[in-house]
Symmetry: C2
Subunit: 343 residues, 2 copies
Amino acid sequence: MPELRHDPIQKRWVIIATERGRRPSDFVKSEPPPISGFCPFDEGNEDKTPPEVLAFRRPGTAPDTPGWDVRVVSNKFPALRIEGDLDRAADGIYDKMNGIGAHEVVIETPQHDLNLADQPVEQFTNIMLAAQMRLTDLMRDLRFRYVLIFRNHGTTAGASLAHPHTQIIATPVTPRTVSMELDSAREHYHAKERCLFCDIIRQEMKQGIRVISEVDGMISFTPFASRFPFEVFVMPIQHSHDFAELNQDGLTALSKCLKDTLLRLKLALDDPPYNFMLHTAPNTRTAARRPGHWLTLPFDYHWHFEITPRLVKVAGFEWGTGFYINPTPPEDAARYLREIVIP
Amino acid sequence: MPELRHDPIQKRWVIIATERGRRPSDFVKSEPPPISGFCPFDEGNEDKTPPEVLAFRRPGTAPDTPGWDVRVVSNKFPALRIEGDLDRAADGIYDKMNGIGAHEVVIETPQHDLNLADQPVEQFTNIMLAAQMRLTDLMRDLRFRYVLIFRNHGTTAGASLAHPHTQIIATPVTPRTVSMELDSAREHYHAKERCLFCDIIRQEMKQGIRVISEVDGMISFTPFASRFPFEVFVMPIQHSHDFAELNQDGLTALSKCLKDTLLRLKLALDDPPYNFMLHTAPNTRTAARRPGHWLTLPFDYHWHFEITPRLVKVAGFEWGTGFYINPTPPEDAARYLREIVIP
């Protein structure tokens, strides 16, 4: 069973994957994994993954057989385990709990090398819908405080399989990055009775210099304090704290805007490695059990996708300070991306 | 002039290097830089770097000529600029200031390929002394709130020049990582009237399972919630909040312990890429001007080096949550490192 451990200095949780137990020799001058012809995510290899938990399939096809457009399975090598109790415990000054959680993979297409940016909007929307359905389902489990939807594109960005896929991890604690955003948004709301993100969107739309595109009520822009070159946020212009509440029209609009952004990045930067992460409200079912904690939640959070191309190395200065050095002003990045002509 | 920008969502500062202004074509399929025979840090090339600000040299040699053991120069491509005023300003909802700071390089040896782990203790101590002297000097500048001493070893860890060197960056704000540690330590001190780090050291020494070595009052151990495989902390067993106060004997002890740790990592992991960072008290001169803020400082911080080998990729999950997945339990890492036989 993996273990969750709390760092009392940085107040951060870490997943210690005790079962993998990698030894020094596993790291020494590691070669890239051999490129075999075999891919467990290809159509026809359904028996090489854990059973599907959700699939959009052609009528009459059976689970775990060919005939699907989008397929969600549990991760074969999960970072967290679905079975068991949390078992919170102290170890002297330290805190730990069992590594309970869920780790799923959304296989975005049967086609082995179809770039997400090149997907038709309809299929892109199916992928987002599948991710949203799994998020909603995982939030029913009261052990989970947060569900992260994220994507690693390219080996530099941490992708270990080439076949296009998005990942979902449910965690038994609210991650620090999200708590920090919730705290900032709550402070802002309590001071001004306005949503911090809505205020940011209003300023971005007024100034215009960092906006990339606006599609059917969704906006993409490079954040004022971008950590990385060509970092992009995509979010709904209308206030909404919870991605799970997005309806079919909204999912289509989001998919159009996300696809537009990913395509611009692909064309401008020759298919760069990137990560994207969804930040949305934590599990309000478990939060409701801690009175007063999320009382103002519908008003003081605003879901959004963060897209971070991996173009520069993160080194000692960044790790040591939490400061970032970004060599491309976000106003320049937005202008380059706006000027891309989409064929 | 680079610009410091504040992220109102993550409450984090970012350095926007406006002058470098890297365009999309600068990132596209970037080749590693060509290995030329020329190194500006080699002895004899002193005129290829900015003038030295400190050097330990043989008697009778002139500044910026051969004859040095350790040489400190300004970074030729600094992330922050030394001249100017801070000029704090608002831009609507956002905050910014001029990118004032200092960025220096400690050239550790005239020898182009002498690994820091293989330096004699005496030379290692000279390097630490030079870094400490520069830190003390930079802290006299009241514009600087923090001085970070750090090292990137290997290209994966962000090193752009092979010649062994350590870097120093002075920043006009206290970095978020350090503030977080100060907050945790202060909370702990106010609750228990004991230093958080001293408590951690006591538990580590009692349990023993994560300790690597103990050398002349310095201890190295793998932290309980290690983010990365083979992450190591090195710190004084006796309480001390400020690295600048370490005397000559202390510098020698630190150098022995750091060298011992780096040598074990080098032997266990075949000279892995790594970063190290010093976390120490912020500039107490500027802090003193904000009454009440650091009043208990001498008691509630404890300087330490964090050494983080770069053996695994950081991907979407880590960036999205601030959570880390560590495949090597720190107890295993400590055992491997303890068992290394140093020739």
